[in-house]
Structures are given as structure tokens and as C-alpha cells.
Amino acid sequence: MFRDVSFGQYYPGSSFVHKMDPRIKLVLTLLFMVGIFFVQSFAVFAFVTVFLLAIIFIARLPLRSVLKSIKGIIVLLVLTSLLNIFFTKGVEGEEPLWAWRKIEIYVTGLKQAAKIFLRLVYLVMGSSVLTLTTTPVDLTHAVESLLKPLRVRKFPVHEFALIMSLTLSFIPSLIDETDRIIRAQKARGADFDTGGLIKRAKAFVPILIPLLVGGFRRAEELANAMNSRCYEGATKRTCMRVMKLTWRDFVGGFVVVAFFTGVFLLYGMANKWGNIIWLYY
């Protein structure tokens, strides 16, 4: 059943992380994503792992729900890993671990692949902590609020946020409608599962056209409803939701910033004093 698929991946809860201001969470997530690229050694990766697991624990998210997000990038993971394993040349003087004709595999390549693999996995896990603990609506507000400074540059921040919000509110009924049209056409003998590529593509016309027509009908009614409720664009508009920073945001923000300051410092140290072995490997 289509309609049972909850959109977004919000995992309801009332943990410390859930209660943090979505803006702070968004900024911290961005910091996390950047920070991951400054992790150079497996030792530091171990720290990051503990840190990430701690956050997941504090957010009271089942580890499985966070890991599930990796599914979406499996192809990317395999591909980048293979590329790194096969195409990384060893450091000077390094003997290949294994060689066959022109293909050579070095330990350096394996390490490189492992690091990139970890980075991508943590990147996705980190961002899914954000989406699992923040409703799409909150995220929309956070984006709008953070983009506000762009308004002076004529960037249509409000319209952008409104489109996001309308999209979110229309997704469930759009899914329902798609579901209904597919069933109706199946009942009329439509076949979406057999035949060649062109035949299959053609089979979608009887779904797409009613959806499109329905979309215009919806848009018209929505426009009327919005106009009736005095919509006039962003001018003089106010907002019901106030986002307030609480102690949680300061504590959470401090911890994450402190951690990554450490990561950045280690990165700097590693570059300066290359002889600190554990920072490198």
C-alpha cells in the first residue's frame, strides 16, 4: 500500500536531539558533513564513530533506522571503493599487494577505499540523524529562516519555502491519487509489467495524463483557497511559529563544535607534524 509509506523519514520522539532547534540541527549537520572530510586517520575515525553512536543513542533512534539510509547509496559505495582499490597507486617504493597483468592493488589503495567508504557512510548517517529527528515542516522553516539573509539579494526566500511546504502537504494526496489511477487502469486491463522498454513507457501515459490534469485542477482550487485566505505574497506576512533557542541548543551546539574543533586541530597537527603516526594511519 502506497499510502502507508510515511513521507520524509521522521522518527517520532521527544529526545534531547528531537527537541533541539531545527536551525541549529541543520547548521550542526552541515558542520558534521564538512568535518568528516578533515578526518584523516582510522584512529580519528574511531572517535567519530563513538561520537556518532553517542548522538544516535541520545536521540533514542534505533540503529537500524539510521543504517537503513545507507541502502540508498550502496551502488555509489561499491563503485567508489572499487575505483579506489584498483586505481590508487602505491606510495614510492611500495610493493603491490597483489598484481595481475596491469592491475595492481596496493595497501594504500585499500586504506584509501576504506576511508572514503567510511566518509560516505558517516555523511549519510549524519544527515539521516537530522531527518529522523526533525519533521519536514520544521526543516522547511529552518531553511527559510537560514536563507533569510539572501532576501536582500532578491532571492525569493518566502516563495521557496512556500513551495516546499505546499509540496509536503500535497504529497500524501498525490500518492493516493496515483495509487487510485493505477488501480483503475489495471482494472481496464492495463499492463505495466510486461513488454519492452517502449511498450512499458507507453503504458504510463494513461497514468501520467490523469495525474497532470488532476494537478491543474488541484492547483486551481488551491489558488482560489489561498486567495480567499488573503494571500498576497511575502509582503507584511507574519509567522505563527517562533523558533526559540533553548539550553539544549547551546549544549548540543557546544559539544558538536568542540568535537570538530578537535578534528580540525588534529588535521592541522597532522599536516605540521607528519611524524605523529596515529594521526596518519
Binding site: 491519487e177 487510485r180 489511477i181 489495471k186 482494472a187 490523469p210 490534469v213
Partner: protein, 303 residues
């Protein structure tokens, strides 16, 4: 499904006159997940050929799930289902053969129109079911005329340029063109004005009475159910709670109201008369029929 259950059903004999024969149908959405929801609970029912059966019940009562089993839009999870002699609880039933025999009209069917002409839209099903090209036009013509539209006037028009009532009839013609033996309809009159409603119901009744089409109609309008159906299935919480003739069903005023359904006006009127010792014939259901029956009672008492 376990093997033992299959064995049990292989010995079931389907009555010859059965259009639909369901034994212990059970269905759960998202089984084995935290969102699991049991939508059908051990439903056993037989619908005879030529019957006009209404299905009523609230959202979530299981009526939609049941109806979608009938043409295998939802596959049998547990239990046995036979439609017009075809066992559709098996793993790979012949869907085309099935869906050609059982026409399904969804809520607001006009929202599934897609072709650039009325003719092409009505022919969509025929084409899918492999009807010869030269036969299609004649069959589409029959169907369009059946729903009361003038073929030559309408065939080249875009379905999107028609009025709401016309669109609905074109959509209906698209299902009827396949000459189904069973017609399943989900609220066929929703959103129509009184005239449009009467038109659709008259048509459906004609198909049932004259062409012998078995009709299954899901409806929220108890007056409509009362006046048209031979038999009513009341769904509640995934099971069939009542299976009676409309007259017998709506005698249960308290039970009907407790289920948040309405008692049709003419049923309420006749019930009151019966409570006070006057008998109104079971077949008098419309305002005119009930009025005539009351006049007959009056004449009898005047004598």
C-alpha cells in the same frame, strides 16, 4: 499460505449459480511489520449471478479491501475466492480473463480519463483485452449509447471538454464496453446532482434487470441502497456484520444508528407503521410506492 489450507479449499464445491464465492478471506496490510493492520477478518459470502448487492460501512470497515479482491487488484492472502468459476486464490490467476469479466468503476471515475478523444478512451480497455480493431468501434458505440450519449456527436470530442456528468458516463462506458458479467462500483453517484444520480442509478438498474449483469455497489447513501439493492452487506471492522434484504436490514434501526449509518426515510416510515400494526409490502420502497401502499391501507380501513 500454508499447503494444508490449500488442500481444504480444493475440496470446496462452488455453487453453480455463484458469481462470487468467498470462503474465509483474511487480509492484513503490511503483515509482519509494526504497521500491520488486519483489514478483512474471515469473510465468507456468496453473491449469486444477477443479484444487485449493496455494500455499506464506514471508512476502514474493510469494504474497499474486499471489493478490490474481486478483480485481484489485491491478491488473496488467506482463504479462497472464486469469481465466475475462476479460482483467483491461486498464485498466478489469468488476470486478463478475470478483469474482462468483472468491470470495476472507481470513485470519481472521470478522473482516470486520459485519451484525446472519447472514442479512444472508451476503446482503451477493449484494446488491452485484445479485441479486434474493427470490432472495437462498434462495441464502444454500444457502450456510449447504453450510457445515454450520442455516439456521432461525442466520439471525436476531448473527454476533458465535457461536463461533469458526461465525463462520468464516458468513464462508465469505458468499463461497460467490455460487456462485463459483474459490475463493481465504488460510490458511482458521489458528487453528482440529483438528476445525475438518478440517471446513473437507472442505468445500473437496467443493466442488472435487463442484461442480467451482477451488480456490486458500494454506497454511503442509504436511501439509494434501500431503493435499488436486492441485498445489503454491512461491513464493520473487517467483517460482514449483516447480510440481509434492505427491508429486513433497516428494521434494525437501533443497530444501524449505532453503526453511524442512516436509516432510509421510507424504511423509517414503514417501520413506524409496522410497529403500530400496519403492514406495508416488502417491495414498496420509493416515495410513490409507499404512498400507494398507504392509500391502499386507507381504502381497506374506509370500507
Amino acid at each position: 499460505m500454508s499447503k494444508s489450507e490449500k488442500v481444504t479449499y480444493s475440496s470446496v464445491t462452488v455453487p453453480e449459480n455463484a458469481a462470487i464465492f468467498a470462503q474465509n478471506l483474511d487480509f492484513t496490510y503490511n503483515p509482519k511489520s509494526p504497521f500491520a493492520k488486519r483489514a478483512l477478518k474471515d469473510v465468507t459470502v456468496t453473491v449469486n449471478k444477477g443479484e444487485f448487492v449493496a455494500i455499506v460501512g464506514h471508512t476502514g470497515s474493510g469494504k474497499t479491501t474486499f471489493v478490490q479482491h474481486l478483480n485481484a487488484l489485491i491478491r488473496v492472502q488467506k482463504g479462497y475466492l472464486n469469481v465466475l468459476g475462476q479460482d483467483i486464490s491461486i498464485k498466478k490467476p489469468d488476470l486478463k480473463a478475470l478483469r474482462q469479466k468483472i468491470g470495476m468503476v472507481f470513485q470519481y471515475p472521470e478522473y482516470q480519463l486520459f485519451a484525446d478523444t472519447v472514442l479512444a478512451d472508451v476503446c482503451f480497455g477493449l484494446k488491452n483485452f485484445g479485441v479486434d480493431k474493427d470490432k472495437r468501434e462498434q462495441m464502444a458505440k454500444d457502450a456510449l449509447e447504453l450510457v445515454g450519449l450520442e455516439f456521432d456527436k461525442i466520439k471525436e470530442k476531448s473527454p476533458f471538454d465535457l461536463s461533469g456528468g458526461e465525463k462520468r458516463r464516458v468513464a462508465l462506458a469505458g468499463v461497460l464496453a467490455m460487456k462485463p458479467q459483474i459490475l463493481v462500483m465504488d460510490e458511482p453517484t458521489a458528487g453528482l446532482d440529483p438528476r445525475g444520480k438518478t440517471e446513473i442509478l437507472t442505468l445500473v438498474k437496467k443493466l442488472n434487470r435487463e442484461n442480467g449483469v451482477t451488480v456490486i455497489m458500494v454506497s454511503h447513501d442509504m436511501n439509494e441502497v434501500y431503493e435499488n439493492a436486492d441485498r445489503v452487506l454491512v461491513f464493520g471492522d473487517g467483517a460482514i456484520v449483516y447480510d440481509r434484504t434492505p427491508r429486513e436490514l433497516f428494521k434494525l434501526e437501533k443497530e444501524i444508528e449505532a453503526m453511524n449509518l442512516e436509516v432510509p426515510s421510507m424504511a423509517a416510515f414503514c417501520n413506524e407503521l409496522e410497529r403500530r400494526g400496519f403492514v406495508i409490502d416488502e417491495n414498496c420502497k420509493t416515495v410513490d410506492e409507499v404512498f400507494a401502499a398507504v392509500m391502499a391501507l386507507k381504502e381497506a380501513s374506509d370500507v
